[in-house]
């Protein structure tokens, strides 16, 4: 926990030093996509289940939050609660189907990919609600009650910077607590040897379902914030490429580590802006990283510094 706070403090101080909007924007996207990556890492790095559904949860989070705000005229946070309820229900249904049939690694990934694509097709074709391919313009902004100035709309980059940083910090603290608790130990048991975990009294079905649901709820949180920050929600949020981005970030940063996904998110978000590559080359570099990480650094950047332990 201490190492986590040590890494976060400089980020809080940064906006006082750095004023360039571009750097702050890149960091905001890093934090938001970092939340998605941390969510994925809990189910993949923690419980060892490779899911491809987190992009759908990401999209559902943004769509449902915005639609419930429109339909019921409630503030952002209440809208997000509605999204959490929906995502939890969807995760339980899909998780129950997958884990009841004891789908292993590859087949679990393919089935969750199929469900994610189905959700994307629904978002694409349910034009009366989601406006289909035209996407939806989000002009509302999240509001926060600040002691000094009461209800404040988050609009400027710096306020978005702090909101997304606080959100990321909360998710990171939660994931540290989770992985250090008995739940985290059970996740590691399931990841490393599911049969043995069964004989130790761990109901692997329930804990895999819990990991899957937690990861999707966190992904929907990232989706809600992301949709409101960019101000535009479209079916592409649920696309496979969004899932693959999160997977690449976690692999690059370090699977089963706490800060790994955030490091991966920072590298993959800022990469296109640091090196001025022709567009085609950039996509190639992206693919190259994925290959090199898997073949040469299976434990990712952060993983290099620490032996993999289940955070006990």
């Amino acid at each position: 926990m201490k190492s986590l706070l040590l890494l976060l403090i400089p980020l809080y101080v940064l906006p006082l030093v750095v004023h360039s909007d571009v750097v702050l924007t890149i960091l905001i996207f890093t934090f938001l996509l970092g939340i998605l990556a941390v969510g994925f890492n809990i189910v993949f790095g923690g419980a060892g289940q490779l899911t491809m559904f987190h992009a759908a949860a990401f999209g559902i989070g943004s769509y449902v939050t915005f639609l419930s705000m429109l339909r019921f005229g409630i503030p952002f946070w209440l809208g997000y609660c509605v999204a959490v309820v929906i995502v939890v229900l969807v995760s339980i249904v899909i998780g129950w189907i997958c884990f009841k049939f004891r789908l292993k690694e590859f087949y679990f990934a393919v089935v969750t990919l199929a469900f994610a694509e189905l959700c994307r097709l629904v978002a694409l074709n349910w034009t009366s609600v989601t406006n289909g391919t035209l996407g939806m313009l989000v002009l509302e902004k999240p509001t926060i009650w600040l002691p000094g100035s009461g209800i404040v709309r988050i609009e400027q980059t710096t306020s978005w910077y702090f909101l997304s940083l606080v959100a990321l910090s909360a998710i990171l603290v939660f994931s540290v607590l989770l992985m250090r608790s008995w739940i985290g130990r059970n996740f590691s048991a399931i990841r490393l040897n599911e049969d043995l975990a069964q004989t130790l009294g761990i109901d692997t079905f329930r804990y895999k379902l819990l990991a899957f649901t937690i990861s999707n709820v966190i992904a929907s949180f990232a989706g809600a914030l992301y949709g409101f920050y960019t101000g535009y929600i479209e079916p592409a949020y649920l696309a496979v490429t969004q899932s693959l981005d999160a997977i690449a970030m976690v692999l690059l940063g370090g699977v089963s580590t706490i800060m790994g996904p955030v490091v991966g998110a920072l590298v993959l978000t800022s990469l296109p802006h640091l090196i001025e590559l022709p567009a085609e080359m950039r996509v190639a570099v992206y693919g190259m990283i994925l290959i090199l990480v898997i073949l040469l650094m299976p434990r990712g950047v952060v993983g290099l510094f620490r032996r993999p332990r289940h955070a006990a």
């Binding site: 909007d21 035209l134 960019t230 101000g231 802006h273 567009a279 996509v283």
Partner: protein, 391 residues
């Protein structure tokens, strides 16, 4: 001590002024461009991003342009959004805040424009954005959105090229039934919403089908259209799909007569023996115009020299060329307005002037572009008939 401070302060002011005067002779005008040069839906962005560099290169080689007593050079900052709204957000911020560009070309993609619009709106009055995206039509011309100008003509409306195209179709072929087949994305949906009323107003029965972007086998949806027995098939909107639609429609003999408002003559020429009729809106038929119009000849040669490859006659040359005209039009507006950074004044002159480039370009009161265009009518065997239209 105070005295000395005041002295050197004055000194500093003086030198700054001198330096400023010395550099008054030459300056640079920053020109931003955010287009999707790669990625799945980059076909339009890729084409338009080719015209601007040629114009900028020509102007700078000619020593820049004079406004008042200073000559300016153009500094082009072309960024590739890869069709990803997230990238575009970061890039527009870079252009407006870091590079302080006052003129931005693009985007042609509606979803990119809609994402960066709320952010760009904060800079209303401080910069101009010339974008071609279809959905820009919903925002342009409204109070508070003065910074947006749409650099492509609109289909509907009194001077809309779509209406003129439909009138031409009725005049030449008197069709009773037209089947529309568009891509299931924002561009396709908008085309459907525009052209259904236009055809209805003229008593033509229509049917609209949508296909998934990236579809290659159109035979199921063409079979559905075949049931409708249309006189004309109206497919849209990008060449990527048109080649397949035209070929498969001919091979499956669903319909051999085609009417297009977007896309190029390419598919028609490729299947010239199979088609019976192929009416397509082409901003300029370059093969023919190159022979008669020196400006077009100059542009084609400049393109070949700059990119060192042959000129893509069949692939919607409009985008690369009209953006070429836009650079010159912008420079002319700056010269007429007599300033390089008074955005509001430049905007007014730009919207009020008519620019005689490869096109006769002017803007309607909705600050959307209007320009003359050609209707290319291919008959069986590739016989081509071009008619020029002045909206």
């Amino acid at each position: 001590m105070k005295h000395c401070l005041r002295a050197c302060f004055a000194g500093a002011l003086l030198t700054a002024a001198v330096v400023d005067v010395a550099s008054a002779q030459t300056g640079t005008v920053k020109l931003g461009q955010i287009e999707a040069q790669t990625g799945p839906n980059a076909i339009y962005g890729y084409m338009s991003s080719q015209g601007v560099p040629i114009a900028v290169d020509e102007i700078n080689k000619a020593g820049g342009f004079k406004v008042g007593d200073t000559t300016y050079k153009l500094d082009l900052i072309a960024l590739d959004t890869r069709g990803d709204p997230k990238e575009a957000t970061i890039q527009i911020k870079k252009l407006l805040e870091q590079d302080k560009a006052k003129f931005v070309f693009g985007p042609f993609l509606s979803n990119v424009f809609v994402t960066i619009f709320p952010y760009a709106k904060q800079f209303n009055g401080k910069f101009l954005m010339l974008g071609g995206g279809t959905r820009i039509h919903e925002f342009v011309g409204q109070p508070g959105n003065e910074f947006v100008i749409r650099s492509w003509n609109w289909d509907a409306g009194p001077r809309g090229f779509g209406e003129r195209m439909v009138d031409y179709l009725i005049k030449t072929a008197h069709p009773k039934k037209v089947a529309m087949l568009f891509q299931n994305d924002s561009g396709g949906k908008i085309l459907g919403d525009i052209y259904e009323p236009i055809f209805k107003a003229r008593g033509i029965e229509t049917m609209t089908e949508y296909f998934e972007p990236g579809t290659k086998d159109f035979s199921p949806v063409l079979a559905k259209i075949g049931e409708f027995r249309p006189d004309y098939l109206f497919p849209g909107y990008s060449d990527a799909a048109l080649y397949d639609i035209v070929r498969q429609s001919i091979e499956g003999n669903y319909s051999k007569k085609f009417f297009l408002v977007r896309g190029s003559t390419g598919p028609g020429l490729k299947n010239k023996d199979g088609i019976e009729d192929y009416i397509v809106y082409v901003p300029k038929d370059f093969e023919e115009a190159e022979k008669s119009d020196p400006k077009v000849k100059h542009f084609v040669d400049a393109y070949k020299a700059f990119y060192k490859r042959d000129f893509p006659y069949d692939q919607a040359p409009l985008c690369s060329s009209s953006c070429y005209d836009h650079v010159y039009m912008l420079v002319a507006a700056m010269q007429k307005a007599g300033s390089v950074d008074d955005v509001e004044k430049i905007r007014k002159t730009l919207l009020s002037m008519t620019y005689e480039g490869m096109w006769k370009i002017s803007f309607d009161d909705h600050s959307e572009q209007v320009f003359n265009f050609d209707i290319v009518h291919l008959r069986k065997g590739g016989v081509k008939e071009v008619s020029h239209v002045e909206p």
